[in-house]
């Protein structure tokens, strides 16, 4: 009996923690199926009238989604901008990092460890340090105010190399030596032996890189002056001020790509061993 009470309490605590983590997201999703007028009515606040906690729609409606998809071409344009920036970053980062991480972990060449040390230092450097060198080069290459200014520096960060190296370290050298003695080429070893064993790490890299750049803010407001090129990660906040009636659906739609990516790889992602 006593044991059962303990178990009930434990699940109650677990449920409270889960609600705390999920509340803002549930709130957004619930509010995204309200009509625009309901939203505006609920959240117009003043000293006399505080905003209420409003999570159950008076009336279920897809009006906001309809508005966002069919009546706000600007919204779709910004969404497209986000994809246009994020996908090339993830692809370049993935490709470049696989080769480099393999080289830094399993191949031997002069100055290897010294060169890798540069990557570790870069990994830690915050944007407030790296954006200055980035800016100087982007400006010299004439890339300011183009999406390349957002893509290139973010595609060549040290994150992918460091993360994948962490995974490849656990592959025994003997496996690679054996394959080499069998006459397998280095490329073949990488793609047939090493990559299948670091699937989880690669999934983690794709997901984390995607999410990180899907949220890009600081580079956009410095490198891009033409607001037509803004991705949603920045543009959505100006929507909130001008067009609050559709903001929840816009937020929900903006969430779809990272969510899909995560759902497709959640198993590898969670089983990834560090």
């Amino acid at each position: 009996m006593k044991k059962r009470i303990v178990i009930i309490i434990k699940y109650a605590v677990l449920a409270i923690i889960a609600i705390l983590f999920l509340l803002p997201i549930i709130y957004m999703l619930a509010n995204s199926v309200m009509t625009s007028s309901e939203i505006i009515k609920a959240y117009t606040n003043s000293p006399e009238h505080y905003a209420n906690f409003h999570v159950i729609p008076d009336q279920f409606s897809l009006e906001q989604y309809y508005q966002a998809f069919l009546r706000r071409p600007q919204f779709l344009k910004m969404f497209w901008n986000s994809l246009l920036i994020t996908i090339p970053i993830v692809v370049i980062q993935g490709l470049v990092s696989v080769f480099a991480a393999f080289a830094f972990t399993k191949l031997h060449f002069p100055f290897r460890d010294a060169l890798f040390f540069i990557f570790i230092i870069l990994l830690i450097m915050p944007s407030w340090v790296t954006m200055v060198p980035n800016y100087m080069m982007i400006q010299r290459l004439g890339l300011l105010d183009t999406i390349w200014a957002l893509i290139l520096p973010s595609a060549f960060t040290a994150f992918g190399v460091c993360l994948l190296r962490q995974f490849m370290r656990y592959i025994p050298d003997e496996t690679i030596e054996a394959a080499r003695l069998d006459g397998a080429s280095t490329l073949r070893i990488l793609f047939k032996i090493v990559l299948p064993q670091v699937k989880g790490g690669f999934a983690a890299l794709m997901i984390l890189t995607f999410i990180d750049n899907w949220n890009m803010v600081e580079q956009v407001i410095i490198y891009i002056t033409d607001e037509e090129k803004y991705p949603l990660s920045v543009a959505l906040s100006s929507y909130a001020a001008n067009d609050p009636g559709v903001i929840f659906a816009c937020g929900a739609i903006f969430m779809i790509p990272p969510l899909l990516l995560y759902l497709f790889h959640s198993k590898e992602f969670k089983n990834a061993k560090y």
Binding site: Y50, F53, I121, V132, Y135, L152, W214
Partner: protein
């Protein structure tokens, strides 16, 4: 011998694209910024730019706020997930369903939930509504010292998830019988955790701290989306200071700040790795 040189060439070739990328966008321009850091209108001025930077009030304000934020938010975002992971490990059944729920703050874009935060925490918002009903004085989260508290809450909320996963993975790798034996020997729960579990969890903890520090550098995103370009002085961060100087393209000031901060971070990192190495002995 021939094979060795061939392998060296392949290795170098494989690393080359990554090396070229960081050389072009990070290393070469960093040396260009060194030039700007020590000159003023093409005149070598020694450390004058650094002296001017250190005298700047806004620079110190941004350093102070970033330090306050890091010293409170990072420990919270490490300890709370550790406690939750320890709690999850006491369940007999699988809790992976819950840990994937916990991951959602990481996956949902910042911009998507910003409006929810605004409604909750604005002056006449949901949270103050609740406080008022409970008879507590309403709080201004978008002005004054509470704005820092709001940023810390959001950071912890967002970054707990991944750290719970990492800690849980670390706990799962732990040989279960070790703690079982200790329990048999009469050690109580608290002793098992502090004497056995935590020391074994040390490598995971270092990795979690490192990742949390890296995420803490990105808090500017939340601050910008909530407060815009010119926030309350309590949440004026280093990135704001840099952005103001980007806006008037003050190269010497930007370069000087970038160099100074990079040296500071390398120093902090060396200390961190030294502590890690010593604790692993």
């Amino acid at each position: 011998m021939k094979m060795k040189t061939k392998q060296a060439w392949t290795g170098f070739l494989f690393a080359l694209p990554a090396l070229i990328g960081i050389l072009i966008f990070y290393l070469i321009p960093y040396f260009i910024s060194l030039y700007y850091g020590f000159t003023l209108q093409d005149q070598f001025v020694g450390f004058a730019n650094f002296a001017a930077l250190i005298k700047s009030n806004t620079f110190w304000l941004s350093m102070k706020n970033t330090a306050i934020f890091s010293l409170i938010a990072i420990p919270l975002a490490v300890v709370i997930p550790l406690l939750i992971a320890l709690f999850l490990s006491t369940f007999d059944k699988h809790t992976s369903f819950f840990s994937s729920l916990f991951l959602s703050p990481l996956i949902v874009p910042i911009a998507s939930v910003v409006y929810v935060w605004q409604i909750f925490f604005t002056d006449y918002g949901v949270v103050n509504n609740l406080l008022q009903k409970l008879g507590i004085e309403p709080v201004t989260f978008f002005k004054g010292p509470w704005s820092m508290a709001l940023i810390i809450i959001i950071f912890v909320w967002k970054n707990c998830a991944y750290n719970i996963i990492l800690f849980s993975a670390g706990l799962r790798k732990m040989p279960r019988d070790v703690s079982d034996f200790a329990r048999l020997d009469g050690a109580n729960r608290a002793q098992v955790i502090t004497k056995i579990v935590l020391p074994l969890l040390r490598p995971t903890t270092f990795f979690v701290i490192l990742l949390t520090v890296i995420s803490s550098f990105k808090i500017y995103r939340e601050v910008y989306l909530l407060y815009g370009m010119y926030p309350d002085e309590h949440v004026y961060m280093i990135q704001h200071f840099m952005n103001n100087n980007f806006n008037n393209l003050n190269y010497p000031r930007l370069s000087t700040a970038s160099i100074l901060l990079s040296v500071f971070i390398i120093a902090a990192m060396l200390v961190f790795f030294m502590i890690e190495r010593r604790s692993n002995k």
